[in-house]
C-alpha cells in the first residue's frame, strides 16, 4: 500500500485538507473524506456523468481523477450552486419544469448546465440538448431537463 499524501483543495470556497492514498478517486475523497455527499457515483468509468464537478472552472468526471491530483485546485460541487440559502436560477428552473425525478443524476446535470450557461448564455434548444447529453438520466426522458435549461438561460439573462 502506498503512503497517504496530503491533499489540499478548496471546495465551494472552503479550504479542506485531507490525506489520501494515491489511488483514492477524487469522487471518493469528496464523499468519504470531506463528507460532501452531494456528488454521486453511478459508474466509475466516466460515462454516466453523475460525478461531474467543476475543477478550476471546468466540468470533469471526478471518478476519473485521483484526489492527489486535485491538490491546489478549486472545486465546485452541487452543494456550492445555491448561494445564501437561495436556489440558483438553474435550480429554480429544474424545480419548475420537473427536470428531476429520483435526483440521482441531478448533481452532475446541474454542474454541467451551470458551466454550459456560463459559456453559452443564449443557447438554442439543440445546444442545450447536446450539453446535457454528457449526463445519463434514467428517469426523466430529458425533455423536461432541456426545457429547464432553456428557462434557466432566460431567467439568468433577465437577472444579468
Amino acid at each position: 500500500m502506498a503512503d497517504k499524501r496530503q491533499v489540499k483543495v478548496k471546495v465551494n470556497g472552503v479550504e479542506y485538507e485531507g490525506y489520501a492514498e494515491p489511488r483514492k478517486l477524487l469522487s471518493d475523497f469528496l464523499r468519504d473524506d470531506l463528507e460532501l455527499l452531494g456528488t454521486h457515483v453511478g459508474c466509475e468509468h466516466g460515462i454516466c456523468g453523475a460525478c461531474t464537478i467543476l475543477f478550476n472552472g471546468e466540468p470533469i468526471r471526478s471518478c476519473l481523477m485521483f484526489a492527489v491530483q486535485a491538490t491546489g485546485a478549486e472545486i465546485m460541487t452541487v452543494e456550492g450552486i445555491a448561494e445564501n440559502g437561495k436556489l440558483h436560477p438553474i435550480q429554480e428552473a429544474f424545480n419548475e419544469h420537473h427536470a428531476l425525478q429520483c435526483g440521482f443524476c441531478t448533481p452532475g446535470m446541474l454542474i454541467t448546465v451551470y458551466h454550459f450557461l456560463k459559456e453559452n448564455p443564449n443557447p438554442t434548444e439543440e445546444e442545450a440538448r447536446e450539453a446535457v447529453s454528457g449526463v445519463l438520466c434514467r428517469c426523466t426522458g430529458y425533455t423536461q431537463i432541456v426545457e429547464a435549461v432553456m428557462a434557466a438561460a432566460e431567467k439568468m439573462r433577465i437577472a444579468a
Binding site: C43, I47, L100, C102, Q144
Partner: protein
Amino acid sequence: MSGEKKKWVGSSYKRKEDMRLLTGRGTFMDDILLPNMKHAAILRSPYAHAKILDVDISEALKAPGVIGVVTGEDVKKASKPYPCGVTIPTKYYTCAVDKVRFVGEPVAVVVADNRYLAEDALDLIEVDYDPLEAVVDIEKAIEPDAPVLHENIGSNIYNHRFFKYGTDWDTLCQEADEVVKWKFNFPKYAGSPIETYGVIASYSSFENSYVVYNNYQGPFVNHALTAMALGIPENKMRWIIPTDIGGGFGTKTGIYPYCALMSIVAKKTGVTVKWIEDRREHLLASATCTDRVTYIEAAVRKDGKILGLKDKAMDTTGGYIRPPEPGCAYRSTGNHTGAYDIRNLDREVYIVATNKGLTAPLRGYGCQELYFSTERITDMAAAKLGIDPAEIRFKNFVQPEQMPYTTATGGYYDVGNYPAAFQKCLDIVEYDKMREYQKKARAEGRLVGIGLASVVDPSVTNIAYVAIGKTIEERKNERDKSGSGEAAIVKVDPLGGITVICSTNPQGQGHETVISQIIADEFGVHPDEVVVDSVLDSSDRLYSITTGSFSSRFASSGTTAIVRASRQCIEKAKKIAAHLMKIKVEDVVMEEGKFFAKDKPEKAIKLRHIAGAAHWNQYDLPEGIDAGLFGTSLWTMPTSRPPDGKDRVNSSNTYGFVAEAIVVEVDQETGEITFLKWASVHDAGTILNPQIVRGQVLGSIVQAIGGSMYEEQAYDEHGQCLTASFADYLCPTAMEMPKVDVDHFESPSVLTALGSKGAGEGSSMSVPPAIGNAIADALAPLGVVVDELPLSPSKIWHMIDEAKAKTN
C-alpha cells in the same frame, strides 16, 4: 367520489422533494454512514457454468485491512434456498454453493476497512473451477441434449403450463379466413438506475436480530421470504429504506438476495457491513426483464376481426428462478388480449434455465414481451388482409359500452374508451396526413414507416397472478393468495400539523408532493403544511406482502389508502368536534380545515384545536374514542381475488390504456433510424399532477427506446456477457430522445378514491411494439419482417441487405 374538481389534486404543484435533491442534500443509500462500518466486495464468477471444486480464502484473510471472508459454504449453512412459486425444487441461494450458473454470480464476499482493500483481497481468493458447457439460447436450453444447469430438476425447465380459454383452437381456425403466424424474439434489458444497489447490514447476537438498510423498492413479500431464507422470524429483521432512492424501474425489486447475503456476512464477521454495488456488478448480476421467444398465431376474419390467439411463450429467468418469477409469464394474464375483444386464447408457457443473469420485474413487467408479439402479429394480420393497421385496431377494440369488461383470462377492466383515446392519438400524429407523406416518401425511394400500438396498461398487481404458475390441481392443495394492499397513516400532531406515513417507497415518482396535494384537499390545508415521511422502516410502518412502489400502485392503491386514512381521521375529528360543540356528529360540517355546526358556520373550530383537544385533554373525549388524532388504512382493491378454477385471474386492478403512434425514417444505406413524429396518448384515469405524469410518460418512453434500439444484456454463445460496462450497455442520452407529443384521455377508475390508475409504466409496454411496427412498416416495401429487438443500425442494415439479396 372520483372525478370531482379538487383544489390541489390535478394541479402541477411543484415537487417538494426537489429542495433537498437540487442542493445535494438527499439521503441515498451510499450517503448513510454508520459507526464502525466496514466495506464489502463480492467475488463473482468469471464462468457462465462451472463446478466449484475449491475456494481458498487463506491468502485473502491475511490481506491488509481484511476483517473476514464469507463463501458459498457459509451461505449454505446460514440460509435456505429462497421459496419460489413453482413446483420444481429450486435452489437459489444468494451465493453460489457448489456450482456457478452465470457470469457475475457471487462466489465469496470480503469485508475490509474500505472498499479498495476489500477489492484487493478479492484478487487473492483462489477458486478452482471445473468449467462446463454453457447454454444461453432459450430453445437450445430445452433440447434433450442441452447441458443441464440444475441436476436436481433434471432439465432446464423451471415451469411449463398450458391454458385454454374459449373455443378450441382447431375449431377456431376453421372459422377463420386467415391464420397469421410468426416467431418473435424479445431481448433482455434492464432499468439500470443510475444509483446501483446498496445494503448496510448489522447483526446483534444478543437479540439474534438484523438491521438492514437497503434501497429496495418493494414488494415487501421479499422481506418475508428473506426472513424465511435466513430461517428467522420476520420481525427479527428490520429493513430501513432511506428517504431517497436513485431510480428503480423494477430493477430494484431484485435487491433482496443481497439483503440476505449481507446479513449473513454481518453475522459472520460481527461488524456493520456496507456493500455498494458497482456498475459492472450491476450490469452483470442485478436484474433484467426476461428475454422471450414467442410463437404466435392469430386467427382472423377477412374483415379484420381477430377471433383468437394461440401463443407459445418461452421466457428465461437465467441461472436461477427466484421470486416474484415465474411472474414474468403470468403477471399479464388478465390483460393478455390487451385492448381487444378477443374471447379465445390458447397459451403455452415455458420458463427456462439458461446460463445468463437473473431477472426481476422491469417497468411494464411481462407486458412488453407480450405486446411485442401481439401488436406485431396484429399489424402482420392487417397487412395480410390488406387493411390499415389503425382500422384493424378499431375493428377489435373492446367498446366503451362493454365496460366493465371481463376478459377471457379474467381481467376486469372497469372503465375506458379505447376507440376514442386511440383516435386522439391518430389525430395528434395526423395519421392520414402522415400516410400521404409516407406515400410520397416511398415514391422518392425513402423508407418511411408509421408504427401504431394500442395496449391496456395494467397497474396494481394482484399477487394472485403468481399462483397461475401452478396448475389448478396443484393449487387445490395450497392456500389461496390474493391482494394488492397499500398502507397509509395520517396523523395530526398536538399542534395541528399533519404527517403522512406511507408504505410506498418512491424512487423519484414524487409521492411526497402528490400526497401533500391529496391531504391538502382532504383537510383544507396548504400542501406545504403537510409533511410526508418517506423513510420506510419495517419496524414501525404498516406494510404488507403487496406494499412498495411497483406496478404503478401508488397512484391508485396508495392514494386510496391515503384518502381512506384521511377520512377516518376526519371522521374522528368530527366526533370530537361534535362533542366539543355539544351537537350531533351528523350536524358537523368540515370545510377549509374548519369544523362547524351546519347552521352556525361562524362558530367554527379549527383542526388544530380539535387535535389539541385529542392530545392535550385526553380525559374529555367522546365515549369510546381513543386519544390522539390519526387514521390508518391498509387498503386492498376489492377486485384482487385469487385465480378461479379455470385459470382466470384479475392479475391487476386498474387498467389504463396507451396509444402510441410513431413515424420513423430508416436510412437504407446505414440502417440508422430517425424519429419524424411521435404521439403518445394515455388513459391513466384522473391525473393527480400533470407535470409529474408527463415526466413518468417521457421517462418510460426513453427506457423503452433503450430496450428497442440500444440496451441489451447480451451474451456470446459461451455465456460471457458482452455488455458489462456503460460503454457497451447503451443507455440513451438526451440526443437519442426525440420530441414526443404526450397527451391524455381521462376515464377515471371507479375503483379508486380519486379515479386515478397507474401512469408510470404504460409506454414501457407500448413503445417496443410501436417501434417494431414503425420499422417494419418502413421496410415493408423491401419485404422485411421485423421480429426482434433491439434494432441496431447494423441489424437493420443486414435485414435490408438480405431482403435486397433475395429480390436480386
